[in-house]
């Protein structure tokens, strides 16, 4: 109800939206660099490709908000992909049930990390490094190293054109849900508060351990879902799914402006961060940039994006 009308503050606007501005810049540059970039087909591909990474990054965001880190997401993707495939193929389950089971198993792996961190007091980096190794091992043991082919018309429904590409809609829905959870629920705010000052919350009588544990569980479940997406896209559940995805996901969260110290970060910015990373790969492929320099360029763009982040949010110098 404030009557004063403020002049539009450009600086403030840029600071608050720097991730989105970087994304926009990248889209514009890409559109100039390649004719095919803005085609429906390419944009749809990007969405289909990035749906999984976006979910993984969102799950990770919550872990990071609470001051943790999760390296196991890539491996849990593999568990999600292989479990859902095996249940359909070997046990003849309906694909929706198999997805449910895969999510629960992903959640269980997350819980495992969460218990190690919250209750056993192991540093998140190490606990999830261990879970990462274990989950990958489990995926390989389950499939005996052979990709499990899934019958068409089951899990592939998730990417079916006839149903308007469900995974895109699921992802958009989850983005909305988690934006709300982050901003409008006590859960979201407590997770942020824990990353900001855990002791304060404990002393306010909040069972912080449960919350910390829950973020890992959430991250595990979303990673498993991302794995299911991969399985759906290739109609195959393979134990190699998601290799290295953890680093991309962390990069996405940071490019989205979150602090790895916890307490600061937003869902939509994280989504933008994941898309930025995805776009970099996409445009280099479209332009047929030679493969070996691709890594170098990707590294440089990550640095540039983060520097832009920092430059547009710079506060006064203090020691």
């Amino acid at each position: 109800m404030e009557a004063t009308r403020k002049k539009f503050d450009w600086k403030e606007f840029i600071i608050n939206n720097n991730t989105f501005i970087i994304l926009l810049l990248l889209v514009i540059v890409s559109a100039f660099l390649s004719d095919t970039f803005l085609t429906t087909m390419n944009l749809r591909n990007i969405l289909l490709q990035q749906a999984g990474p976006i979910l993984v990054a969102i799950g990770l965001l919550f872990v990071i908000l609470a001051g943790g880190i999760d390296l196991s997401v890539g491996s849990i993707m593999a568990v999600g992909a292989t479990v859902s495939a095996i249940l359909i193929t070997d046990l003849g389950m309906h694909f929706s049930v198999s997805i449910g089971v895969a999510l629960i198993i992903g959640l269980a792996f997350g819980l495992f990390s969460g218990i190690l961190v919250a209750y056993a007091g192991i540093q998140g980096f190490v606990a999830t490094l261990a879970t990462m190794t274990i989950a990958r091992g489990v995926a390989f043991v389950l499939t005996e190293g052979r990709p499990v082919k899934v019958e068409a018309g089951t899990i592939s429904t998730l990417v079916s054109k006839d149903f308007m590409y469900p995974i895109i809609w699921i992802t958009i829905l989850l983005i909305i849900v988690f934006t709300i959870v982050h901003r409008y629920t006590g859960y979201g705010r407590k997770v942020i508060a824990i990353g900001s000052n855990e002791t304060a919350l404990k002393l306010a009588g909040v069972r912080t351990k449960q919350y910390i544990m829950s973020t890992y569980a959430l991250s595990g479940a979303l990673a498993a879902l991302a794995g299911v997406f991969v399985a759906a896209r290739s109609s195959t559940g393979s134990a190699t799914v998601g290799t290295g995805q953890e680093l991309d996901a962390i990069a996405a969260v940071v490019i989205g402006g979150a602090s790895l110290m916890g307490g600061r970060g937003f869902v939509l910015n994280t989504v933008a961060g994941a898309l930025i990373l995805g776009l970099i790969g996409n445009i280099m492929n479209l332009m047929a940039v030679p493969s070996y320099p691709q890594d170098i360029i990707k590294g440089v763009i990550i640095i540039a994006a983060v520097l832009l982040q920092i430059a547009t949010s710079k506060r006064d110098r203090t020691i």
Partner: protein, 492 residues
Amino acid sequence: MTPEYIVEMNHISKHFGGVKALQDVHLNVKRGEIHALIGENGAGKSTLMKILAGAYPKDEGTILIDGAEATTATPRAMLDMGVSVIYQEFMLAPDLTVAENIFIDHMQQGLFINWKDLKRRAKEQLQKIGFGNIDPGKKVGELSVAYQQIVEICKCLAKDSKVLVFDEPTAVLTHSETEKLLELIVKLKQEGVTILYISHRLEELFAISDKITVLKDGKYVDTVETASITKEQLVTMMVGREIEQLFPERNAEIGEEILRVENLAAGDLVEDVSFSLRKGEVLGFSGLVGSGRTETMRAIFGADKKSSGKVRYFGEEVNFRSPKQAIRKGIGLLPEDRKTQGLLLKQPIRYNATLVSRQGNGFINHKKEQQEVRELLARIATKYGSTEDNADSLSGGNQQKVALAKWLAVDTKVIILDEPTRGVDVGAKTEIYRIINELAESGVGVIIISSEMAEIIGVCDRAIVMREGRVTGEVPKENLTENHLIKLAMGV
């Protein structure tokens, strides 16, 4: 039948590793009274309160709240029994807004948070205690330390507790805010809330408390009616000896001018500051919280950028771009917040004491260094276990001494002390004043920023008063009175 005591703590013992923080301590508080808790730094006051809050488990003893024994002493359980604590170290989440911090454990009423409503409720709470000017939508990390303290208080008040514990709430507040807070506490008492109050500022205790319990070295000394005791008697109970003079005499010879600041501007706040400092002089800086004293000194010291103005040091114009340059020239600064800026809490006391003197990268002789540190700490009567214990094992006052010790290990010509006695007990305070005197007597120019006017008056040869980033007055020793300082600080 309601029991006589609302808080009954009996035979409480607690140890941390080898340190016996509390031994067989009693604390009995009647309903509706303001009960003060006093003792030297490290006497165990905060520990006792943390046990009451369920933050630390006790080794032995019983706690009864309103006659009911607290068997599961977790923060949640104690909150449910009606005990809230405003901690000495702020317990806020800097990344969340004021409103969220105030209602941290009950933000939403329905499924979702209603931000408008949350902010409105926070505003109401803030207004209730007279700080309606704090924006409930602002992030706590962006507030000044004083305002953070206010939010912390507000957060506990929002819980409708039966028992409220204030652990040194005024250490970071200035005069006017302290007044407001004390008024509020008295009002709460009238509303039937029981208050436990910890402070090293004796005049506050005498102003509001009904009873005082004294702790010493982790042991219970006595509980007395405030009305039946004098300040001197109380100090003797606390320290175990008489303190003749809070502010010891100084025989320093004030010499030539060594530092001159002209029209200094820095950051958003400091606009036009000029002053000078002489050899052997103790110069006080008074003013309200946020008046820009800290920022002025940081700019001189090279910790922040100057935007304009000149600094002359021994007649020569200097422009320090980093603390390193200032230190090389012989200027030292003891920052106002020892926890975040002054100490390596998780490292040995020894490392802390040699933080400035050990600038080189060469080899270290640990034995020799230990010996040096022991001598250094003995000079300023620091209480500690071993030089290898971590700094966070020390009580507040002794932490402050260790932070100060690092500057005593090097030759400084100018030393700036920002709130040097914040949270320090009377006994230790006199010792710090003694150290300040020694420094001045050896020809060092000393600048003291203090929000305690008594301290400025008692210790300084001259005082500068600041308000909103400008110097509003310079007061010579003979004119140093509270009245005068307040007028200049408030701009009336």
